[in-house]
């Protein structure tokens, strides 16, 4: 295992971005999933397509659209600049890239969990005096936990591996936006960098394994707690 200080930075940066992207997306993902499962409105299909779009679009395309919106000449970019916020080519852009790409995975998992919630439980809750938002937090949320954890793990893992959108909208800046995949790409572009690249690949695999294991363990714990 051959890791330079820049590599360690890349690993820490990857983790920081993945955690931030996941935490930021959770409330939005939860709200979106709730809307899709429990609410009926016109053009719901449109929203469905929009949410799933990042799954089928090449990540570079997503990156490009993000760049168009948040870049120098975009709406988002103009607003952010007015607020004095630097966005493109910073770790914030990397977070948004990861969040966008992983969002459909998150929503999908939470939806699955929510769909399995017995509607009559919600009716019971309402009849016992809980308003719809009370029900949302005291019944829907706890029962969606499994889906939320599954979705978070998927999103986190996806985020660790995010490349295409990230490199377009956040660039490859060592110490600032160079995540593990970008660092590996850098090494891989050079024929002399193979052993370094392999070390980072190893770290990547190890991280993925840890996340998947954690996901299984937490999932099982939730199940057993419910049985007790």
């Amino acid at each position: 295992m051959n890791l330079s200080p820049e590599d360690i930075t890349a690993i820490l940066l990857s983790l920081k971005i993945a955690v931030t992207a996941t935490l930021l997306s959770l409330p939005i993902g939860f709200a979106t999933a709730w809307l899709m499962v429990f609410r009926h409105f016109r053009f719901k299909v449109l929203l469905e397509v929009l949410i799933n779009l990042p799954l089928t679009l090449p990540p570079v395309v997503i990156g490009y659209f993000l760049l168009l919106f948040f870049g120098r000449n975009g709406w988002g970019g103009a607003m952010l600049r007015a607020a004095g916020v630097e966005f493109i080519f910073t770790w914030k852009a990397a977070v948004v890239a990861s969040a966008t790409v992983g969002f459909p995975l998150l929503v999908r998992s939470i939806r699955l969990g929510m769909e399995s919630i017995d509607r009559q439980l919600l009716q019971a809750s309402r009849s016992l005096g809980a308003s719809w938002y009370d029900t949302l937090f005291t019944v829907v949320l706890p029962l969606s936990l499994r889906g939320m954890i599954a979705g978070s793990s998927l999103m986190f893992a996806r985020s660790l591996g995010e490349f295409g959108a990230t490199i377009i909208v956040a660039g490859n800046i060592p110490g600032v936006t160079q995540t593990i995949p970008l660092a590996i790409y850098d090494y891989a572009s050079s024929p002399t960098g193979t052993s370094m690249a392999l070390s980072l690949c190893g770290v990547s695999v190890a991280l993925s394994v840890i996340i998947l294991l954690l996901h299984e363990v937490i999932g099982k714990q939730l199940e057993t707690r419910r049985e007790a």
């Binding site: 439980l121 019971a124 309402r126 009849s127 005096g129 009370d134």
Partner: protein, 351 residues
């Protein structure tokens, strides 16, 4: 409790239009599956909105299309006990019980959790998770949960249908006692006439999306006598049995009933079909049936080709069922004295 209904709703090809009012603390809604009673219940509790009309509960307007009022379910204070308990799986028994209680305004909290747990015999279940409860235990917790919400009206939507017979009739005393003890009026929905007889004083009969009328459970039973394969079911609460020669002698009015499947030391509920009562104009000298009661005919009624004979014996009432030709042959009329023969095995113990 007074409930005024005047609502219309269309669901696909099903068309519902109901206008009626029902009064009383132990009321029922009776109808076959698909008659619209579930839909009605959903609209009363606010889980479904009618297309038009009005709903009033004790002067409180729950819904009015004219006045544009549609009270949210959580504001109606109508708690529901469902057919399947629907306990919250992520909460324990205690948290389930207190769910509605916590959300009840302190000024409305008249029922104390401790008292209720006592009445429903839930003390030993308090620390359990809801998945390890038996069907009957779940239903009792569901009942407790609904009552602890201190509702204006307790709606019980076929709460016993998912339970087996023995359990069903064990829960009924809890249902009644809780309501009486804590003064919570209820609306009991079922397709079982026996359950209606045990639980309600008046019944709203629903059929094909319309209200067919308001009657008493007894009238309902009588009307359904001919079509019910078990005829009119006489329901008898008996206690104080004395066992002799493997038969149980129960005091009944001024006389006694001899029953095969009895139990000493506790109160039991028995069901006796009107078709299992054989009538004699004269006292048969020797008869295999262990019960031979001298009765007076107090009332006769018709039910679709059958004749219902209301008999009074030792201060108690029984309804027997015979075919019309038999009634004519025996020339039965009110005031007659008849002898009713009932086999000891004809009594079915319910719980």
């Amino acid at each position: 409790m007074k409930l005024s209904i005047d609502i219309q709703k269309r669901l696909g090809s099903f068309d519902l239009a109901m206008q009626s009012a029902i009064e009383g603390d132990h009321s029922g809604i009776f109808g076959a599956s698909g008659s619209g009673k579930s839909t009605l219940v959903h609209m009363i509790s606010g889980l479904m909105t009618p297309d038009s009309g009005e709903l009033y509960l004790d002067d409180v307007c729950l819904y009015s299309s004219r006045k544009r009022v549609n009270l949210a379910p959580e504001k109606r204070r109508i708690a529901i006990v469902f057919q399947h308990a629907r306990l919250f799986p992520h909460l324990g028994v205690k948290a389930n019980l207190l769910f509605g209680y916590k959300r009840c305004h302190p000024e409305h909290r008249k029922i104390s959790p401790e008292a209720l747990i006592e009445v429903l015999n839930l003390g030993h279940l308090m620390k359990r998770g809801v998945n390890k409860l038996s069907g009957g235990e779940k239903q009792r917790v569901a009942l407790g949960r609904a009552v602890l919400a201190n509702p204006r009206l307790l709606v019980m939507d076929e709460p016993l249908s998912a339970l087996d017979d023995s359990l069903r009739y064990q829960i009924i005393p809890y249902l009644r006692s809780v309501s009486e003890e804590f003064g919570v009026p209820y609306l009991f929905i079922s397709h079982s006439i026996s359950e209606m007889q045990l639980m309600t004083d008046q019944v709203m009969v629903v059929s094909q999306g319309r209200i067919a009328g308001i009657s008493t459970p007894d009238q309902l039973a009588r009307a359904g006598m001919a079509s019910n394969p078990k005829g009119y079911l006489n329901l008898l609460r008996l206690n104080g049995a004395a066992e002799k020669n493997s038969l149980f002698h129960y005091p009944w009015g001024s006389g006694e009933l001899i029953i095969s499947d009895g139990k000493t030391g506790e109160e039991s509920l028995f069901e006796l079909s009107s078709r299992d009562i054989i009538l004699f104009k004269q006292h048969p000298e020797a008869i295999s049936a262990r019960n031979l009661l001298e009765c007076t005919v107090t009332e006769l009624f018709d039910s679709d080709g059958r004749k219902g004979v209301v008999l009074e014996s030792g201060g108690k009432t029984l309804v027997a069922e015979i075919v019309r030709s038999a009634a004519e042959e025996l020339e039965i009329s009110t005031g007659n004295t008849l002898f009713a023969a009932i086999k000891a095995s004809a009594f079915r113990r319910l719980g």
